[in-house]
Symmetry: none
């Protein structure tokens, strides 16, 4: 989902929605709704503006594997999960339940 990707890549660059908005020229209300997947079908112009400010290609913005989605906070949480003794099966069930 494009919104999630924008959010991840933006946070990776430590930008707020407002900052990305002023720099890219895309309304922050729109960025917000994109990131929450209320809007899911941006035009290339918007994508190119994002890509330019985030210093990546449109292709990377759209499809490139974002293993960065596992940021430092998530890594900490993962450690805690593993340390707590929760099994992979339990986690998968939890994820299924939350879908």
């Amino acid at each position: 989902m494009i919104g999630y990707r924008v959010k991840m890549l933006r946070e990776e660059k430590k930008m707020s929605i407002s900052e990305l908005s002023t720099k890219s020229g895309v309304a922050k209300s729109y960025i917000s709704s994109l990131e929450r997947n209320l809007q899911t079908n941006p035009t290339i112009l918007v994508l190119e503006k994002f890509a330019s400010i985030l210093c990546i290609t449109v292709d990377a913005l759209l499809y490139e594997q974002v293993d960065h989605s596992m940021d430092d906070e998530w890594k900490e949480i993962m450690k805690d999960i593993i340390g707590s003794g929760i099994s992979k099966e339990e986690m998968r069930e939890f994820i299924e339940d939350r879908k």
Copy 2:
């Protein structure tokens, strides 16, 4: 310009606008206006539909160098030249003479 690229890539695949339209699910009137650069800012959904039918990536659709100088007609002519037995040297001389 995206419209020109769509046109080139479509013709490269020997598809009519109508065929691309029915296969991709994008209205042919819209494809037509895109190719004539009346519309210039499609959404990713449209781009992805095109890319899928044209068997290329969205990135290629947007940016990859299109060899428009050598269109289908020129390719046919090239084949005829080669098939006719004319040597490369002869062709170069011919070009020089015409300059």
